[in-house]
């Protein structure tokens, strides 16, 4: 049994954390806070899943724990590349986490730092049944870069989505181009995301598709192309086009609901929240296409992990490609998950009401349409990532 010195002799970090969790669970039960139907302690142990806040099915892992005998310990994790790497390298994450579920496309730094394991897809029965993987993420397709690296599969796609921008039709009328973000008509009423791999790439897509600049691949620009994009954004910034660049979910929702801005580069869930708050925001279907991305669940490399623990991690990956989990995540987050989700929700009215099943099917169809329409796959770690960052700093400082 390894001991990394974080606790008393003979107790590994994992055991230490498990005991802490067990203590917490005991207190929760004593306090009447235990989740109904959840086992107080799974017989075989637990799989630790680090997640960025998207992969939690409402705290209910009983459909995984029941058949497998393993509990899931969910741990919050930031999604920024540096945060992920720092947690795994310096924070001892490889000793603690079994699976990390983050926005994919991080294979290069993760593999080159020996932080994740290649996935044996034969050990994931749902893998072969997932037509979305074959259609959008198979080797040779641009989406493979979100889960694979140098021909090997490293991530299980748990969520798929296509991003564009939001707008308030009451103020702007219908919009169908990223050009709305740069249209002087909405000067001072536009917000961008503070993210060079999303905003930069969407701008590049707009410039490329409208032949406003020569950009070969918006997903992996050369330094000169990045400079072109940033020069364009700086010119717009100096003309007063942008009101703010947002950096948190709440901030961006607030910008829409307060009608501080009319057009906003953002994620679709923000529109869902705005709608629930009574604001008739619309998520655009731009003629230039979408910024496509997927979340990937990676198995963290830990040579000391037992065979049983590894098997449990694989079982969790398989569970995350299953119908119940997919339906739960689609319903709660508004993202497409896997083809089984729609069918599961429809055929299990005891778990998902007709309205919920309909909503899941609508979300799935909407996102699938985006993928079929196409666009550009987000690149979380482009070749010239440092140039992206320094040029983005230039935009912000301009």
């Amino acid at each position: 049994m390894e001991n990394d010195g974080t606790d008393s002799p003979g107790v590994s970090r994992r055991e230490f954390l498990e005991r802490l969790a067990a203590g917490g669970a005991g207190l929760a039960v004593a306090g009447g806070l235990a989740r109904p139907g959840a086992p107080a302690w799974a017989a075989k142990g637990s799989v630790t899943l680090a997640d960025v806040g998207v992969g939690d099915p409402g705290g209910d892992w009983s459909k995984f724990s029941g058949p497998t005998g393993w509990d899931v310990k969910l741990v919050a994790m930031g999604n920024a590349p540096s945060g992920v790497l720092n947690v795994l390298i310096a924070g001892g994450g490889t000793q603690i986490y079994d699976v990390v579920n983050i926005v994919g496309g991080m294979q290069k730094p993760l593999v080159e730092n020996n932080l994740i394991e290649p996935i044996d897809t034969a050990r994931v029965p749902n893998w072969g049944k997932d037509t979305y993987i074959r259609e959008f993420l198979a080797p040779g397709k641009p989406g493979f870069d979100f889960i694979g690296y140098k021909g090997n599969v490293y991530g299980v796609p748990t969520v798929l989505q296509g991003d564009s921008f939001a707008y308030l039709p009451e103020k702007t009328g219908p919009l169908d181009s990223y050009g709305a973000l740069f249209d002087p008509k909405w000067k001072g009423f536009v917000a961008l995301e503070d993210n060079f791999t999303t905003t930069g790439q969407k701008t590049a897509l707009y410039l490329q598709k409208n032949r406003l600049a020569s950009i070969k691949d918006p997903a992996n620009m050369t330094p000169a192309e990045i400079k072109t994009v940033i020069d364009f954004l700086i010119a717009k910034k100096k003309a007063g086009q942008f009101r703010v660049i947002w950096s948190s979910f709440e901030q961006s929702v607030n910008l829409l609901t307060s009608r501080e801005v009319y057009v906003m580069d953002c994620w679709e869930p923000m529109v869902f929240v705005a709608k629930k708050k009574g604001v008739s925001a619309v998520y655009a279907a731009p003629k230039e296409g979408y910024l496509l991305w997927a979340m990937a669940a990676y198995i963290v490399r830990n040579p000391k992990r037992s065979k049983e623990q590894e098997k449990a991690a694989y079982e969790l990956l398989d569970f995350m490609l299953g119908g119940w989990y997919g339906a739960k995540i689609t319903l709660s987050r508004g993202y497409m998950t896997n083809p089984a989700a729609v069918a599961y929700a429809k055929s299990n009215p005891g778990e998902f009401g007709p309205a919920e099943a309909q909503e899941i099917a609508a979300i799935d169809a909407n996102v699938r349409k985006k993928f079929q329409f196409g666009g550009t796959w987000q690149n979380r770690w482009p070749t010239h990532v440092e140039t992206y960052e320094s040029e983005w700093a230039r935009f912000k400082a301009a």
């Binding site: 920024a80 590349p81 540096s82 790497l85 390298i89 730094p109 080159e112 730092n113 001072g188 961008l192 503070d194 910034k237 942008f242 009101r243 703010v244 660049i245 950096s247 709440e250 901030q251 607030n254 307060s258 009608r259 501080e260 990532v385 440092e386 992206y388 960052e389 320094s390 983005w392 700093a393 230039r394 935009f395 912000k396 400082a397 301009a398």
Partner: protein
């Protein structure tokens, strides 16, 4: 027996000193030292390797990030000055013009904002200052303006409002402590000798309260200089202070550049403290006799 007791007491005294010193060294000096050393290292893949290169400093001083340092200094100085101008009169009245029990209650009220999460407090300014927020609505209702005032939010003004409201309360306490501890007989003596209230304030009260000013300026300047949340939430299109640009470099794992920028920030703060120390006696802040050197 007595000698033994004395020796034990001496050892205990050293032990007491060693523990905090070890803590400071381990938690502060070692990380700062590592940061300084890493600023000269070079990148190797996704990590860094030992070297002696000034590349990261050159990148910082030649690039746009230098303008962020300049802005950080200007904003920190501005917020500190405005905060002081607001905090000093408040502390003055609480210490010298109102009853002690009332002053204590008012000081307690100044702690209430700290019971609310800092980020939520900052976000509340977004609501108040937005185009459709209460301030703009009030201005329009009063006929001051026909349309919403844009510069209230996502602007220098908003950043200053957010920073002053965050750090000014920290400045009130040391000022109040300094003014409250002032020997009133000196003020009375000044009056008896015929000095006007203005002269008494400038030549007696203000110099004697300088230790409080010293501490207040440190609290205001250091806090503001390292701030990163307020500029993001209230600052508009890419408003950055040093904390933001260091975080940005870390996002692409550029540790040497982040370390170089952090080292420059620390050096700037040390220079600031040195200048301040030359103007004031640091011991005064530590509770010793105040001594205004000029």
């Amino acid at each position: 027996m007595g000698a033994l007791q004395g020796r034990v007491a001496g050892v205990a005294r050293y032990a007491l000193l060693v523990l905090p010193l070890a803590f400071v060294a381990g938690a502060l000096l070692v990380p700062l030292g590592l940061m300084f050393v890493w600023s000269f290292w070079e990148r190797a893949g996704f990590w860094i390797r030992p070297a002696f290169t000034l590349a990261s400093y050159a990148e910082f001083f030649a690039g746009v990030r230098l303008s962020v340092l300049e802005r950080s200094l200007v904003v920190a100085a501005g917020v500190t000055l405005l905060g002081l101008l607001l905090a000093y009169p408040i502390a003055y009245f609480l210490a010298l013009r109102v009853r002690r029990d009332l002053a204590r209650n008012v000081l307690l009220l100044f702690t209430i904002p700290f019971l609310v999460n800092y980020i939520i407090r900052t976000f509340s300014w977004v609501y108040l200052l937005s185009r459709t927020g209460p301030v703009n609505r009030a201005l329009m209702a009063a006929g001051v303006t026909q349309r919403a005032v844009d510069w209230l939010l996502f602007s220098d003004f908003a950043v200053f409002v957010g920073l002053i409201s965050s750090y000014m309360p920290f400045m009130i306490y040391p000022l109040w402590a300094a003014l409250d501890g002032l020997d009133r007989r000196l003020v009375e003596a000044s009056w008896l000798l015929g000095a006007s209230p203005r002269v008494t304030f400038l030549r007696v009260t203000l110099p004697l309260s300088m230790p409080g000013v010293f501490a207040a300026v440190i609290f205001g300047f250091v806090g503001t200089f390292g701030e990163s949340a307020v500029p993001i939430i209230l600052g508009g299109v890419g408003y950055q202070l040093m904390g933001n640009t260091i975080t940005s470099a870390l996002d692409v794992l550029n540790y040497p550049l982040a370390a170089a920028m952090s080292s420059v920030v620390v050096a700037t703060m040390l220079a600031f403290l040195l200048v301040w120390y030359l103007a004031f006696d640091l011991r005064a802040v530590l509770g010793k006799i105040a001594r205004w050197r000029f």
